[in-house]
């Protein structure tokens, strides 16, 4: 029985369930429903971690939104007391290897692949940092940003209720020796300072990441360096992509190429930005968002990126005149120097140019002087600001690279 600290729950699936999982997974890919599934937050991994030994209130927070997993876990436990098996430290796993928490690993069924570094202290750190995200959501709720939140919740819950996933929701499907839980497709660890993004790839799923962002990947995951063009692009599409890549490189602060990660049998890849700072997960559902140059870390799904000129006045701003316009359907991970805060613009809001990470395309923006007249322009130290009009989300970062450089420069010997 688990005691203090982190305990593990190892699910032991019957071969029948394995095959039934495959049975419903295959038709999804064939009928094109897979595209829809690419927006779900969760994938199936035959294991999760709970804090504390209290069966009724297991909280594998680092993997999933608490509510979701709580529901699933509680359902499962209520339905079948003999479900799966609890493993404490040192108890051998089903396949005979040691289940010691210090070198715990995620077992991907049918592959037996080891995913390193998922040890107990890692989980604890992830748990603590997850509290940061929970608090963030709580704040959104309190601050009256219900629309944004409701929209995102809707995404999640629709995913959970996807017909293909219903076997998981249905407690009767969770037989005593089988437990399959819906776990997310990605984990962001070490927020908000030294964020690390871990993405689990579904078979043949492609994750496109900024060049140089990879930290580690499963050995069977292939990496291809590509221009950032849609897969179905013809010659002119490729040419266009080349020009866009050139513009991105020169003006938008992004790298010329992107790396595509994929594998026929799935796998995992870890990504990290260059600077210290946070990583934010964003779901696009046909909507368009704009990000400041350098904010892009990775995306999966059918997303196109192109630079958008910010207007003549943006040329005066030191943060670059181009924004990155992303549109389509899929998931996007953005990064910034500093922590990321989500603000809701209801009407009009002003953000310092250097602290802007991204915003919904539903907002109109103009780049202007910070106010306070000429003295304000020259003496306020704010440089130029972006003024937004309309309804939508704005992401800001709490630190600014150029301010850091200005602070640091006098300290350095000349």
């Amino acid at each position: 029985m688990p005691r203090d600290g982190v305990a593990e729950f190892v699910s032991e699936c019957t071969p029948q369930l394995c095959s039934s999982v495959r049975a419903f997974a295959d038709p999804i890919q064939k009928t094109g429903l897979h595209e829809d599934l690419s927006t779900w937050q969760c994938k199936c991994i035959g294991r999760f971690v709970v804090e504390d030994g209290d069966r009724g209130r297991a909280e594998p927070r680092q993997f999933c939104r608490r509510e979701q997993v709580n529901e699933l876990v509680e359902d499962a436990f209520d339905a079948s007391p003999g479900l799966g098996s609890w493993r404490g430290p040192g108890v051998p796993l089903a396949d005979g290897r040691s289940g010691n928490l210090a070198d715990a690993h995620v077992e991907r069924r049918g592959q037996g692949e080891r995913c390193p570094l998922r040890n107990a202290s890692d989980h604890r750190a992830a748990n603590e940092k997850k509290a940061y995200e929970c608090a963030e959501e709580q704040r959104e709720l309190e601050e009256g940003a219900p629309r944004a939140l409701a929209r995102r919740e809707a995404v999640r819950f629709r995913c959970l209720r996807h017909p293909a996933l219903l076997p998981f929701r249905n407690t009767s499907a969770l037989t005593p020796c089988s437990s399959e839980f819906i776990l997310p497709h990605h984990i962001i660890k070490h927020q908000p300072v030294f964020a690390l993004l871990e993405v689990q790839l579904a078979p043949n799923e492609v994750v496109v990441a900024e060049a140089g962002a990879m930290v580690a990947r499963a050995s069977h995951v292939a990496m291809a360096v590509k221009l950032n063009a849609p897969a179905h692009a013809g010659f002119f599409g490729k040419l266009r992509a080349f020009v866009i890549a050139l513009v991105r490189k020169l003006f938008a602060g992004e790298t010329f190429f992107v790396n595509h990660f994929s594998s026929p049998q799935g796998g995992w890849v870890w990504l990290a930005p260059a600077l210290s700072g946070a990583v934010k997960h964003i779901v696009l559902q046909g909507n368009t968002m704009l990000f400041s140059a350098g904010a892009f870390l990775a995306f999966s799904g059918d997303i196109t990126m192109r630079p958008r000129f910010g207007g003549c006045r943006s040329l005066l701003a030191k943060e670059g005149a181009f924004f990155l316009e992303t549109s389509g359907t899929g998931e996007l991970w953005i990064t910034s120097y500093g922590a990321i805060e989500e603000l809701q613009c209801n009407g009009s809001y002003v953000v310092d140019n250097g602290h802007l990470v991204g915003f919904d395309a539903s907002l109109n923006f103009t780049i202007k002087a910070p106010g306070g007249g000429l003295v304000g322009l020259l003496g306020s130290g704010e440089g130029l600001v972006c003024e937004f009009q309309g309804q939508g989300r704005i992401f800001i970062q709490t630190r600014n690279v150029s301010a850091l450089v200005e602070w640091l420069t006098p300290l350095l010997p000349s």
Binding site: P192, V193, S276, G277, A278, G338, A339, E341, L343, G347, S348, Y349, V350, V351, D352, H355, P370, G371, G372, G373, V375, G376, G379, S380, G381, E382, G383, E387, I394, I396, T398, R399, N400, A403, L404, E406, W407, L408, L411, L412, P413
Partner: protein, 230 residues
Amino acid sequence: MQTEIKHNPDFAAVRIQFDNPGEQFVTEAGAMLSRDTALTMTTNLRGGLGAALKRKLLGGESLFQNTFTATAAGQTLWVAPAPEGAIECVDLEPGQNLFLQSGAYLCSTTGIQLDTKFQGGKGFFSGEGLFLLRVHGQGRIWFCTYGAIHAVDLGAHYQGYICDTGHMVAFTQGLSYTVNKVGGLKSLFLSGEGLVCTFKGQGRLWMQTRDPSGLAAFLQPFRPVKSRQT
């Protein structure tokens, strides 16, 4: 006015929400992250040119300060400093003084005044500049550090306290300090500690867990070298 410090201790920022129109908030130049458009911002030399120049030249602060005035209830303002680190807030009553290392001031309510205090020769040797910022008046002041904040109450548990000059950020008025060598000449040059501040008295001392000059010394070898012109 409701205020909240978020993301301590690494990328701290202050969120201010105004309750009433007409409420004002003062920030260091360049510290604003974002705000409601309807907030009015004025940039001025608070306390006149003389006081502003003194702050700028002697206290290491910006010449101008920005004053934000609410025009309606519920408006918000976000403020953050340049260096990575934490923010601490202190409430001051009339007659109380808070001394800040130069450059540490971030923002305050309007009842707060900034002044400089000559430290004498010890300021020159301590590496903190000749002057400290003296904060007084009534209200609340926020200051920033590089690294996390460690606060110590002197008088109750500690009769004296020694802290590295580069890590000293702020202290209350009951404290006085002298600048000393760590030990003999050998430790001055070899211990890597340089000079230390020895505090006495009763009050609170705030230290930062990182030293900016340590970062600068660390980064220096990584800077690109300009080719020598012949």
